[in-house]
Amino acid sequence: MTYFKKTAVLLLVLATAACTNPDRFGGAGADGANGAAGAGANGAVAGSASDPSSPLFFNQTIGDRVLFAVDTSTITPEGRTILDGQAQWLLTNADYRAVIEGHADEQGTREYNLALGQRRANAVREYLVSRGVPATRLQVTSYGKERPLAVCSEESCYAQNRRAVTVLSFSAITS
């Protein structure tokens, strides 16, 4: 995982496609959930963000996250484009599972935001399933407002924090 992150930082400079920062909380959640081999080790071996079968391609070129408006879980048109790409990638790379992590901005009470994050992550899951990704490969969790990416108390930060991140993990499907 560490190696993966270093690689990601290096490649960030080279990446030509629009990209977002790797979510540094995502990996831990996925590992904890599955106890499976992390996506990172595999991704680093597989190659760069321009290698369409690599997790880096998924995270950066396609985009691993979608953003939401205040207190909503509706997938935006931009979000649909990203999720179409995610679905395509997941269908091509059938050895990967994903945990979709929902997040909220700080403008809300803690427990409500946990539920709101779940609603967002579930909206992503349902969209991916509607595009043919087997539901058994997709899990959902929520961090509510506990793990903001951007720390200012303004809409510019809140907009980045209202997100659902699709965190890959490499694992043969056993059931």
Binding site: A28, G29, A30, D31, G32, A33, D71, S73, V99, E106, Q107, G108, T109, R110, E111, Y112, L114, A115, L116, Q118, R119, N122, A123, E126, Q139, V140, T141, S142, Y143, G144, E146, R147, P148, L149, A150, V151, C152, S153
Partner: protein
Amino acid sequence: MIKRFMTLLVALMLAGPVLAQDGPLRLTITDGVIEPITFAVPAFEAETPAAQQAATDISRLVVQDLAGTGLFREVPATAFISQVSSFAQPIAFPDWRAINAQALITGAVTVNGEQLVVKFRLYDVFSGQELGQGLQFAGTTSGWRRMGHKVADAVYSRITGEGGYFDSRVVFVSESGPKDNRQKRLAIMDFDGANIQFLTDSSTIVLAPRFSPNGDRVLYTSFESGFPRINVLNVANVGRQQLQTAPGEMAFSPRFSRDGRQVIYSLSNGGNTDIYRTDLGTGQSVRLTNAPSIDTAPSLSPDGSQIVFESDRSGTQQLYVMSANGGEARRISFGEGRYGTPVWSPRGDLVAFTKQNAGRFHIGVMRTDGSEEKLLTSSFLDEGPTWSPNGRVIMFSRETQGAGGTSSLYSVDISGRNLKAVPLQGGASDPSWGPLQP
């Protein structure tokens, strides 16, 4: 806030250097005007040489507890005319009347090895009578603070006629680190921020602990599996057990039933969040809400018959009351903005809540039918009220704005007075106030 007997009010208004007090020393806490009762605490007598420090510390703590309520005001020792060098000595009431001390508290401390005994007497200075009987508490030298809190609770109770709240503990989340990498640990403290004890390490996110009714266990939400799950923690031995949750489900927002045997909580599945009840003994679960909305933050009424909770079934977060067995819910919040985190008061008369309106957060209270809403605080982010055991004070989290924002615990009287920070090193959130200790 405080209403005295009319005779006393008149006496205060006419007060010259010496107050007259016709009725007994008594303070009725209402929503009326505040005029603190004045009190004096001469340093408690050390009856054994080893008790010197404890005697000083305990008498100061009694002062701190009482004055900290805002209902009592200390007459400082520098104003004393006479001293009380012996607990047995008769009280020179004129000397205490002369300095306008309405209440006088004397005490003595004995220390034998690890054992500490404190005894005290409370006097109604203006009537020249002892209020209640002399009382003593026995404990350990390391537990001296509890002995001081017990004395202060007894004084508070005798003067107000209500239970105290000083000898109580609060479980909360201790926070450190920046906003985007905040470390959280469960911790317990005395109500005044002393004696912090950590219950978990910071290896995983922990949220929103709740004390059991008798304070022996704590329910909280933990991310150790990567998914929110509910843990039950035994306070005495820090042993933990997880509430069974099906794969794909998130469980959070747990609270104990009044008998401590069941857990009322939220379960999220497929984007929908409902309230459930699970028996800790049998593991049997009952679903209490069934709406395609976020139903969370349940709180039982003191008699256990009803649950107040928040739901966005109307489109925004609002407060609802339903039977403890579920069924139809009735909305009780109708003001502007969003309402969450309702907590039923221990007296049963009020619901405390978090309100979000026009970019500000407030802690407020309303009657259980939603009437007489009153906002007690206002800030960038206040949330998560919890009641003192006697239902007079609310503690909550306040988070400051911006990249360097941190969370602290505050308390406020239900009149909206006496807002103050709980003195703690480092950040803190999600307080849950436990019962008075036996």
